[in-house]
């Protein structure tokens, strides 16, 4: 048994700093934002770990895709956040994913018409932000349109986002993560290729 990686050194201030950048990223979709993240057990990206430490606790059900469901990641999340790890994507409040081939996007909860907030937030790890294929974004938080370059986007992501956007105000909110960088794609953002 290897030693568990540490969490936040000063939880109130560190969580506030991460949350504020995350709020910024979600309020301004497509803007690439850097987080100050403590070490996280690979293959969990540093920023994904920081988001988990900031938002997850005993009240949140966390789903990990097979690529991330390693003993180290599970032990680290359980110890530092006390979150419930669930086996079914349908139960997730937070879904962390690193696999780029077979993500069960359509199985994540999108909320109901009355309570569209009871939906999952997907934290999706990609290879790079700010480089790679361009996505064109429009919607609240964006003055006209903006471009976000992403390398290593999961297969079928744009088509799924189109389905997700049609269900508005229901839908899944996405945070793209690469290393310590993040970019928010809330459900209100229309995503197209190019």
């Amino acid at each position: 048994m290897t030693a568990l990686a540490p969490g936040f050194v000063d939880p109130p201030l560190a969580a506030q700093a991460v949350f504020r950048r995350l709020l910024d990223a979600m309020a301004r979709p497509g803007m690439v934002v850097s987080l100050e993240a403590p070490p996280a057990p690979p293959p969990l990206a540093l920023a994904a770990g920081a988001i988990a430490l900031t938002l997850c606790d005993a009240d949140t059900a966390v789903w990990l895709d097979p690529a991330l469901r390693t003993a180290e990641v599970v032990a680290w999340l359980r110890f530092h956040t006390g979150c419930r790890i669930v086996g079914a994507a349908e139960d997730a409040a937070f879904a962390f994913a690193a696999d780029t081939v077979a993500l069960p996007f359509d199985r994540l909860p999108i909320g109901s018409d009355e309570f569209p907030d009871r939906s999952a937030t997907a934290v999706v790890q990609v290879a790079r932000l700010g480089a790679g294929a361009p996505l064109c974004l429009a919607g609240p938080g964006i003055e006209t349109t903006t471009r976000l370059h992403v390398q290593g986007l999961p297969a079928g992501f744009v088509a799924w986002r189109a389905r997700n956007h049609v269900a508005y105000p229901r839908g899944v909110d996405v945070v793209l993560v690469a290393g310590t960088q993040i970019a928010g794609l809330p459900r209100s953002t229309a995503v197209t290729e190019g």
Binding site: P11, P12, L13, A15, Q16, A17, F19, R20, L22, L23, M26, A27, R28, T54, L55, C56, D57, D59, T60, A93, S112, D113, E114, F115, P116, D117, S119, T121, G139, P140, G141, I142, E143, Y168, P169, G171, D173, P186, R187, S188
Partner: protein, 293 residues
């Protein structure tokens, strides 16, 4: 730093996580009211507990906080809340709109246009714009789900039928992002146009009613109206007595027992800044202007 014996910014971390999750969902669904487990704060519901909980979840040690109550920085509510966060979060506070990174407000939007880095936190007494028309939460929730806002339009129509115009002068309902009808909190309708495509992030907290909602930057916020009865923001037809401003929202102040009255800027920072720049109104030098004149 912060007050010994208390967590940073007063609230415990689990509460902050709960509020932060609600805030992120609120930002993702502009104008939709997210239920949250509102806590008791060390002041009564109705004194801005919702706004304070939002501020506490958002604020960091590098922030500069401004708190206004009806536009004024120097009223009891504004002074107490500003001191509360200076004490519990150790943040710098200001009365200048341009210096603030977070502005908590009761019933006004500052006259100085907000910028991209700023967050405006509204204290909201009644988050449900349809509540006076439909008391049942299950029904209003269904109406929002179906975007069924006919009742609101009937209310506005009846106003026109009875009075010849829409008589709402504050808490004037808005349509956010073309989807959700939202209560802008009891700001004067004069302030409604400032919400539309504002570069600042706008967060709303209703403590007693346990709701959080948000308007992200550059989001469409349209005041409800009819093609033949367009929206008219209401304002007193006078210049500010102290600084002479003709474009700011005014408070009417009774100054004596002989019917004397004075119109002054409701935004004290706006008025002070203008007077410091040499602008003079008809009543310049009046005792209301404070010791500075």
């Amino acid at each position: 730093m912060s007050l010994p014996g208390y967590n940073f910014a007063y609230l415990d971390e689990q509460t902050k996580r709960m509020i932060r999750r609600a805030l992120l969902k609120a930002v993702a669904i502009p104008g939709y009211q997210v239920p949250f487990a509102s806590r008791e704060m060390p002041l009564a519901y109705g004194w801005g507990t919702g706004g304070m909980q939002v501020t506490a979840a958002v604020i960091g040690p590098d922030d500069v906080l401004k708190v206004i109550d009806q536009g004024a920085d120097d009223t009891t509510n504004a002074v107490s809340i500003r001191r509360f966060f200076a004490l519990t979060a150790g943040v710098r506070t200001t009365e200048r709109t341009v210096e603030a990174t977070i502005i908590q407000t009761r019933h006004r939007i500052p006259e100085t246009p907000l910028t991209a880095g700023q967050i405006l936190v509204y204290q909201v007494p009644q988050p449900e714009p349809l509540r006076k028309l439909e008391p049942r939460e299950t029904e209003t929730r269904r109406m929002h789900a179906l975007a069924e806002y006919g009742l609101m339009h009937v209310k506005l129509y009846e106003d026109i039928a009875r009075h010849g115009r829409i008589t709402l002068s504050y808490d004037y309902p808005v349509l956010v992002n073309g989807r959700h009808v939202m209560a802008p909190s009891p700001i004067p309708s004069f302030d409604n146009p400032k919400m539309h495509r504002s570069p600042a992030l706008q967060l709303f907290g209703a403590g007693r009613e346990k709701r959080i909602y948000a308007v992200p930057p550059y989001t469409s916020v349209e005041s409800l109206a009819f093609e033949d009865h367009p929206f008219h923001p209401w304002k007193a037809n006078a210049p500010c007595g102290l600084c002479g401003a003709t474009d700011s929202y005014l408070d009417e102040v009774v100054v004596d027992d002989r019917g004397g009255r004075l119109f002054v800027c409701s935004d004290t920072d706006h008025c002070t800044t203008r007077r410091a720049a040499g602008h003079r109104g008809a009543a310049a030098g009046h005792a209301l202007a404070g010791a500075g004149e």
